[in-house]
Symmetry: C2
Subunit: 340 residues, 2 copies
């Protein structure tokens, strides 16, 4: 079982505990979180891609290259790459370069995207949202397979015998499909035989299990190519009081990052709902979260778990402590489940 | 005086001395060259951007982010960024991220480009070569100045009140204009008050001096904003025999990188011509190259010298020895000239 961490890279400039955080500090902290994840024995680090002042990472491959230079073992990926708004050629070049720099540790998780900014920024009409994603995924898979590309589509200039360089160290970059809850997306990933990452983000275990079912049923023709990942918010605390005390960070994680900004309105009730034993959110003490993750595993048989950590403007020391507890007390029994 | 190194990142897969080099090894060596440049006290490291299997770097910001994580002082730039073929928004995001990761050491040198590949790859019609460069330079300068951008042009989708993130650590990214010999380009850089990097590549000192004149004359309105850089091929050897012996590497540096590939035909006579005291190529012993660079300085009063090193498939040990000699015996008297 493959267990890693991720960050959306949101930037809370004035934190719940009254600190001021700059983009420079947040960027440096992300690299330190990745280093710590490797140090405690986890398997991966991934960052989101957003094109807004509410987040510090708009160029995941650039951030991950710095992480590559500071680590030697963890896999480096995205959570997620908004493929429809991007150029698959540039994306492939960036991640092939990352793969060379990291000795074969680069991955991409592509998603349809939840924000309009990148589409506006890169001139992709939202009416082309679906065709852009499908076309570009097809092109990305072709780039991953062949060095020389001839391609023609609606959402990117044509390629005629183009040689794309460099090639990655790995035979091909692992390309995951990220979904937030759309069964049709899970189904397509299964049909294509691509690994699937479910951004569970608090959904009931039953819903995650249903998506996993849809995926595996659609992928029956090539079961050996299927891999299921689940991503979820996580923070391991010393006790329940500490967990409840994280509310202001969680509110700022999902809510507006600055006065007047956009985001979810996270009420105390909303926060409380995530503590339900069947909610796919993992904030709490190691014993409780160990049980919740065992239940998630029983229901979905995931191959990878990706913990969203270091959120909401919490100080780095808090993230580190949570990772220490996670690695020491939650991960070993979780890994043991897969060995049974 | 600011003295750095650069690489075009060409990949000679079978070297003159019979080794086989992979893209992975070449990439790792580039990071080591940058580390060594910092270790011996140089000021900068830059890489070219090419979109062809003859070169390993198509994503300079990704490579430079790994260098940023391994160094603490040298400036990180490009030699050059083919702006006309790229999206200035993505470029700015990548280098702003690099600036955050490197604590304010990122730079961009934009050039018009000598190869057709990137234009074909990114769908820029070569008939738009000039307008694409001019429009995109204007947009890049605007991105560097303002966080919120409204822009409309022919060669990239329009932007309407777009917020571009992240912002760099530096007030603005240093944006140099790279020219290979076109006086009109030097003139425009002067008129815009942008720093100029002349890729001298063997031209007679007199031609470099003429370009410098054109630049400074065009920039008379804002002399304090002008900075002149000169880039040139360099390798410091122990003696003249060693310098002459570098011919096969130099041939593979500028010539075809693989059987049937494209490139200059570098004859022994062509190689020999570069040893002329007034040729802006710096291969030879420290005393001789010290004199040649002093003459270049006398003729141009450059503010920055950028040495193209580690070329043609030469082993890393050779590059390191050359950098050691350069830093020990050539750089100190050169820096002293500027202090006079």
């Amino acid at each position: 079982m493959d267990i890693g961490v991720a960050s959306l890279t949101e930037l809370v400039t004035t934190t719940a505990d009254g600190r001021t955080v700059t983009a420079r500090e947040r960027t440096a902290d992300l690299v330190l979180i990745a280093e710590h994840a490797e140090a405690v024995g986890l398997d991966g680090f991934a960052v989101g891609e957003h094109h807004s002042p509410d987040f510090v990472v708009s160029s995941p491959a650039v951030l991950l290259a710095a992480v590559a230079a500071r680590t030697s073992r963890i896999r480096l990926g995205t959570a997620v790459t908004v493929l429809g708004a991007l150029d698959p050629v540039r994306l492939f070049e960036d991640f092939a370069t990352l793969d060379l720099l990291s000795d074969g540790r680069a991955e991409i998780t592509v998603g349809r995207g939840a924000f309009p900014e990148p589409f506006a920024l890169f001139g992709v009409d939202m009416r082309d949202y679906d065709v852009a994603f499908e076309e570009k995924l097809e092109l990305l898979l072709q780039l991953n397979r062949d060095e020389q590309i001839t391609w023609r589509g609606r959402t990117r200039p044509p390629l005629t015998g183009a040689l794309i360089a460099p090639r990655p160290v790995q035979d091909a970059l692992p390309i995951w499909v990220g979904v937030a809850g759309t069964p049709a997306s899970a189904q397509r990933a299964g049909r294509l035989g691509l690994p699937l990452m479910i951004g569970s983000l608090g959904m009931p275990i039953e819903q995650a299990a249903q998506l996993a079912d849809v995926y595996r049923t659609a992928g029956q023709a090539h079961p050996d190519r299927l891999r299921l990942g689940i991503g979820a918010h996580l923070h391991i605390t010393g006790d329940d009081t500490e967990a409840r005390g994280l509310y202001p960070y969680y509110r700022d994680f999902l809510g507006p990052k600055h006065p007047g900004g956009s985001g979810l309105r996270v009420t105390p009730d909303f926060f409380e709902a995530g503590f339900h034993p069947r909610a796919t959110r993992y904030i709490g003490g190691a014993a409780e979260i160990g049980d919740k993750l065992a239940a998630l595993y029983a229901a979905t048989r995931f191959d990878r778990f990706q913990a969203l950590v270091g959120w909401g403007g919490q100080p780095l020391s808090l993230t580190r402590r949570s990772l220490d507890r996670f690695a020491a007390d939650v991960v070993p029994p979780l890994r043991a489940l897969a060995d049974d």
